[in-house]
Amino acid sequence: MTPVQRTVTKTLVALVAMVMFTIALVPLYDVFCQLTGLNGRAASEPRVFTRGEVDESRYVTVQFITRKGNGLPWRLEALDRQVRVHPGQAYEVNFVFTNYGKSAYRGRAVPSVSPGEASLYLRKVTCFCFQEQRLEAGERLQLPMVFQLARDIPESVHTVTLAYTLYPMTGPLAVIEDGTTGQGGDA
């Protein structure tokens, strides 16, 4: 190999490495978000409760906000819009999904926690947001969400806001005719 060929080979190796790195950035970003609570994404995975004492000396207010994206004839309501909780204690709150459309749809509630760092301390064992929901025309479905705020949540956090945004699970034609799955997210 001539020296030029050697240099070109090395730069090509560096180039391929950067391409692989770019591809790896997407999963790395997810891991990074899980670790730091960036954008409150950590809240979309089930987590085990921590055992131990309940900190009854303080309260944290947890708010629930529901929103709706485009293209889904559903309504999502939080039966408890706001609860005051002790860190360490497990709570159950209920949400009602209503499909007021004329056919069955699949949808998913995408969670977001504010402030983002609070998502590190929010543990949910059951949540409708972990998977997509399917509702028949006119169906009303009450689903629980069981959560705990970790005892070590910083003293500075007094209010945690949990927002759920409903999105249809397929493109513009979200109607399910035969139960086949549509295109989902992969990120």
Partner: protein, 545 residues
């Protein structure tokens, strides 16, 4: 102990004459007519092609900027609709960044890197031809999107998702394709430059003997290889989101629009330095020539350039202070960004110390270089202000930012390219550029550029957001001044075109060493430089002492 500055080339060594004679031999089997330009593998001809392309794009992008400035001359919507205004701002940014500044620097590298290191050509001449010809195709495609239904890209040159994915016009797929082509062109060009610099230096020329222009380009080429794949990755994800139903950046499918910004700026911030490092190199070559004094702090210039390049990978999120990063991330990016001021300051101090106790003359290239130092530093100051995260909440996405990056890119990068053109035109054409027109061009450009961009600082601080086609009345005076400055600057570039054409056609003949203070190797070959130079490399090995 070896000297810390490049050895002076023996300017009258005998290869020059041999080089000139060899050119005639090669000319015989060279294709003529348009085919010659299509098929050429000569670094000088390809360099010329790049520079002509860059100038063309500069004028097209400039016309788009003038459309924007004309609309903003007064409050109210007079000339264009908002949807077209957005296409103009977007295309102006894309064309200037990817079509004018980057190819301009690549053109200079093609011409001057082999001449400054004593190489006969680029290491990979045929690849060189291919990298150039990708560009006209890419930009014709990009420009053609303006004629497509729904218009061209209208989401800003930063094309934030989901505005550029779910909410974009149908032509976006073509925009992605053209950006891919421009990116491949840059990567191939970078590989070529690295291979040339690392392998084809004249015998005896060590890395620390190279001119700063070659050094900055070497570092820039590594930056290109590192970040162009990231740009390719992010636009590929956009393509998949738009056409294949994935959800990288779509919250509805579990994606995250902020991921786009992280990826984009991981590319974008080094990209900003890709557009300024070669400018540092040019200024570091021109200032010593006209101060007739060696560059002060050669080694620290190299280290400062390398530190800036490394830091550029650690500051990307300062473009995203308002997206809601965790506090710890805001602090990290604020500190790293402030740190960049240190190596940048070192460069400015070095240039000024080079001037100190020199023997200074003010030919047109020097005028542009001096204006660069002053105006780039002003852009650096506003950059330092922008680094202060709490204050950035007020500056972000206002005209203050527009003023900042135009100060570093127009009287920064663009002035450096013009300085380089005036500096090397005698070498390229064999004639000195017309000093009188050059001076007119310089003074009109300096006045125009400041009248254009300085009021933008005030408009931004007073609260004017960027990328708006119409504005509240308190911003009217600033905008009117900017628009007048814009037209003054834009029209005075016609003088530049004139001076270049005039210089190609004739003028005062230039000797091999066109500037008496010049010391670099390119001044050892005749002016105009024959098609083939340094076929026998100059021997720079030091005689054992």
């Amino acid at each position: 102990m070896a000297p810390k500055h490049p050895p002076k080339a023996r300017l009258e060594h005998s290869e020059n004459v041999a080089g000139g004679a060899a050119a005639d031999v090669h000319e015989a089997h060279h294709p003529s007519g348009p085919l010659r330009w299509l098929l050429t593998t000569n670094h000088k001809e390809i360099g010329t092609l790049y520079l002509v392309f860059s100038l063309t794009m500069f004028l097209i992008g400039g016309v788009m900027a003038l459309v924007v400035r004309l609309e903003l001359f007064q409050p109210g919507l007079q000339l264009v609709r908002p949807e077209f205004f957005n296409q103009m701002t977007t295309m102006h940014g894309l064309i200037m960044v990817f079509g004018a500044v980057m190819p301009g620097f690549v053109g200079l590298a093609n011409w001057m890197v082999p001449l400054q290191i004593g190489a006969p050509d680029m290491a990979l001449p045929r690849l060189n031809n291919f990298s150039f010809w990708l560009l006209p195709v890419a930009f014709l495609l990009l420009l053609s999107t303006l004629l497509m239904p729904g218009g061209g890209p209208n989401f800003g040159w930063t094309f934030y998702a989901p505005l550029s994915t779910t909410y974009s016009p149908p032509s976006t797929t073509f925009f992605i394709l053209s950006l891919h082509m421009a990116g491949i062109s840059s990567i191939l060009g970078a590989i070529n430059i690295i291979a040339t610099i690392l392998n084809l230096r004249a015998p005896g020329m060590r890395l620390m003997d190279m001119t700063l222009f070659v050094w900055t380009w070497l570092i820039t080429a590594f930056l290109l290889i590192a970040v162009m794949p990231v740009l390719a990755g992010v636009i590929t994800m956009m393509l998949l989101d738009i056409n294949f139903g994935t959800s990288f950046f779509n919250a509805a499918g579990g994606g995250d629009p902020v991921l786009f910004q992280h990826l984009f700026w991981f590319f974008g911030h080094p990209e900003v330095y890709i557009m300024i490092l070669p400018a540092f190199g040019i200024i570091s070559v021109i200032v010593p020539t006209f101060a007739r004094k060696p560059l002060f702090g050669y080694a620290s210039m190299v280290y400062a350039t390398a530190s800036i390049a490394i830091l550029s990978f650690l500051v990307w999120a300062h473009h995203m202070f308002s997206v809601g990063l965790p506090l710890i991330a805001e602090l990290f990016f604020m500190y790293t960004t402030m740190l960049i001021a240190v190596p940048t300051g070192v460069k400015v101090f070095n240039w000024i110390t080079t001037l100190f106790r020199g023997s200074i003359t003010f030919e047109t290239p020097m005028l542009f270089a001096l204006a660069f130092i002053v105006l780039f530093t002003i852009g650096g100051f506003s950059g330092l202000m922008l680094a202060i995260a709490p204050a950035d909440f007020q500056y972000h996405d206002t005209y203050f930012v527009v003023a900042h990056f135009h100060y570093v890119l127009v009287p920064g990068a663009v002035f450096s390219i013009m300085a380089a053109v005036y500096y090397w035109l005698p070498k390229w054409t064999g004639h000195y550029p017309d000093e009188r027109i050059g001076r007119w061009h310089f003074w009109l450009s300096v006045i125009g550029v400041n009248l254009l961009f300085f009021p933008m600082h005030f408009a931004g601080l007073a609260g004017m957001p960027r990328r708006i086609p119409d504005y509240a009345l308190q911003f009217a005076d600033f905008n009117m001044a900017s628009s007048i400055g814009g037209f003054l600057f834009g029209l005075s570039q016609l003088l530049f075109v004139w001076v270049v054409i005039k210089c190609i056609r004739g003028g005062v003949p230039a000797p091999a060493k066109a500037w008496d203070g010049a010391t670099d190797l390119e001044w050892s070959v005749p002016s105009p430089a024959p098609l083939h130079t340094f076929e026998t490399p100059p021997d720079l090995r030091r005689v054992a002492s």
